[in-house]
């Protein structure tokens, strides 16, 4: 992998390099090292399992932001066909932090929308680091309404540090754009499946996230505020992000425990960035199962299911 490994990945990667070297020696010199290689592979697997079982919430946040992690566009390419990208909100512009369009999923047409990050510096800037402007939310809404008109299911991929905090975004109604999406998604007459594939950054993520099903990839995170922001407010020190991540309980397994999401989608060993193909194939099967359930619902049932699901969120006492 070209990107810098995260600290906790290093021992695993080192061992993998060692195994590769052994295999090369074996091939070059015709020595049979199968037993040794097997032993090391087993050891590497165990090491990885142990490390990944003990990841804290900050380490998961780093995985969720891993630059080699599959992005929305990757998942679309890997699990859909005939993607036709559609641009623009018909009001102001085309937001490159949100992509969307028509595609075939399991051969059937769907509308797919996702927040899109960039990998190279140039792409990162082009995609505005995955932080949408109001136009991104309005483009998404336009496509959802199109899905409704032609009775196509909607799949959204969530992957953003948050909606962009900037002058233009405020001038053109960032808050209104997100609010409108929340309201409109609630009453959408077609199945809506939302998947957090990386970072679910607050309202900017929720703006694509009022689904009949809300799924999270195993190492993705979803939070009311990103740990750095939380730390700078609470502890006046953004360096305490790791501590904030623990407090915020932003990991997929936390949110499943709280029943705020429907399902955790397993990632390949070592995380989705280690095997895009496998990550997409696991996710494809999970989406297929949920979609098969949802297409049996009538429009009214879909709306009701979505409303009731979100209606129940919250913990309080009546005194």
């Amino acid at each position: 992998m070209a990107a810098q490994p995260i600290d906790f990945e290093k021992p695993i990667l080192e061992m993998e390099t060692k195994i590769e070297e052994l295999q090369q020696v074996s091939r070059a010199q015709g020595v049979d090292l199968t037993a040794e290689v097997k032993r090391l592979q087993k050891k590497a697997k165990r090491l990885r399992r142990d490390i990944f079982a003990k990841l804290n919430r900050w380490e998961q946040t780093l995985l969720a932001r891993h630059p080699e992690r599959p992005y929305a566009e990757d998942y679309i390419k890997l699990m859909m066909t005939d993607f036709v990208e559609l641009h623009g909100d018909r009001l102001f512009g085309d937001d490159h932090a949100v992509i969307g369009g028509l595609a075939r999923f399991e051969g059937k047409p769907v509308v797919v929308i996702g927040q899109q990050k960039g990998r190279s510096t140039k792409q990162k800037i082009y995609r505005n680091f995955g932080m949408p402007h109001p136009e991104g939310y309005r483009k998404a809404l336009r496509l959802m309404k199109m899905a409704e008109k032609f009775n196509r299911p909607v799949i959204t991929f969530i992957d953003t540090p948050g909606a962009y905090p900037g002058l233009g975004a405020e001038e053109r109604g960032q808050a209104e754009a997100i609010a409108r999406n929340l309201k409109e998604m609630a009453t959408l007459t077609v199945p809506l499946i939302s998947v957090v594939i990386g970072e679910g950054g607050s309202g900017g993520a929720l703006g694509l996230g009022v689904g009949n099903r809300v799924l999270m990839l195993q190492y993705s995170v979803y939070s009311v505020i990103m740990p750095e922001g939380c730390a700078s407010i609470l502890y006046r020190d953004s360096g305490l992000a790791a501590q904030a991540a623990e407090s915020l309980k932003l990991a997929a397994k936390d949110l499943k425990e709280y029943e705020l999401i429907d399902e955790i989608v397993k990632e390949p060993p070592g995380g989705a960035h280690r095997n895009h193909q496998m990550a997409a194939s696991i996710l494809r099967r999970v989406i297929r199962r949920h979609l098969a359930e949802l297409i049996c619902f009538s429009p009214q049932e879909l709306i009701k299911q979505r409303e009731q699901k979100f209606r129940n969120f919250g913990q309080y006492m009546e005194t």
Binding site: L167, A179, L182, G203, G207, S223, I233, S247, L260, F310
Partner: protein, 280 residues
């Protein structure tokens, strides 16, 4: 008023020397920085007589200003916060809640209930900024949703007066999901054709703006209120430049088409009444 003008001169000089401002009788206006007579400010519904600055008022006071006397009946006042995340902070979340309760005499950051405004029956929710910055978490979301549902059930107009910094960190994703929960309830209200007037006061930012606040059939704001998605400090840090004068203020939002109107506090009750009479 004439008496007030008479003492205006000498008082300013006193103010400059920073001496002998009788405790509690005079206050410094945050708008014009002048020293103003507190009773005069209060008589004008907490608006500065010199510069029209709208001082923040409590939820209770707002209700008294808007509702016909003796008609307001509070609902769901017993709902109180839990600590679902067992949130780790310098002060425990339950202790923060307790402190906010003590400060405000309320159990949470919003008061909801029903009453009459110039004889028009309605459901009213008012945010209390002194309760943890009017932040939205489970209880606020639930109380507002119940108010929307009562509104729907009784086909009675809804008015929400916002004053909030956004979603409350201490309840994590439970707070964020209140945005979706309340907005979904508003979608139902909207389909049923029941009017919703959203009133924005200083400040209305973050998750509350990006959900219920911007979803009114009619959106009114008090003059000079800070209204936005991101807070000004966050924007400044992101774009690394200072913000233009008046950015994210009521008048700026009106100019950019985000509001229906700017309404001074003294006209708020009448304006809401006028609108509701024509919509309800």
């Amino acid at each position: 008023m004439s008496w007030f003008q008479k003492i205006k001169g000498p008082l300013a000089r006193v103010g400059d020397k920073k001496v002998r401002i009788p405790e509690g009788l005079w206050i410094k206006c945050e708008g014009c920085k002048e020293i103003v007579y507190k009773k005069e400010v209060e008589r004008r519904s907490n608006v500065c007589p010199k510069c029209n600055y709208h001082f923040r008022i409590s939820a209770r006071e707002r209700i008294a200003q808007l509702m016909d006397q003796g008609t307001f009946e509070e609902m769901d006042s017993g709902l109180a916060a839990l600590d679902p995340l067992n949130f780790n902070d310098s002060m425990r979340y339950p202790d923060r809640i307790k402190a906010a309760m003590k400060k405000t005499g309320l159990k949470e950051a919003v008061i909801c209930g029903q009453g009459e405004l110039e004889g028009v029956p309605l459901e009213l929710c008012v945010f209390e900024f002194d309760f943890m910055g009017g932040s939205m978490a489970s209880v606020v979301g639930e109380k507002v949703t119940r108010a929307i549902e009562r509104s729907l059930e009784k086909t009675r107009s809804l008015v929400i007066v916002h004053c909030s910094g956004g979603a409350r960190m201490q309840e994590g994703m439970f707070s964020l999901m209140q945005m979706a929960k309340t907005s979904a309830a508003l979608a139902r209200l909207s389909k049923a054709g029941v009017p919703y007037v959203s009133v924005l006061t200083n400040p209305t930012t973050g998750g509350v703006t990006a959900s219920i606040a911007m979803l009114g059939d009619v959106i009114m704001a008090e003059p000079g209120a800070l209204i936005g998605f991101a807070g000004p400090r966050v924007i400044e840090q992101t774009i690394r430049q200072s913000l233009p004068e008046g950015f994210q203020r009521t008048e700026f939002l009106l100019e950019h088409g985000m509001l229906d109107m700017v309404v001074e506090r003294k006209n708020m009750k009448n304006t809401i009444c006028q609108v509701l009479q024509m919509l309800a």
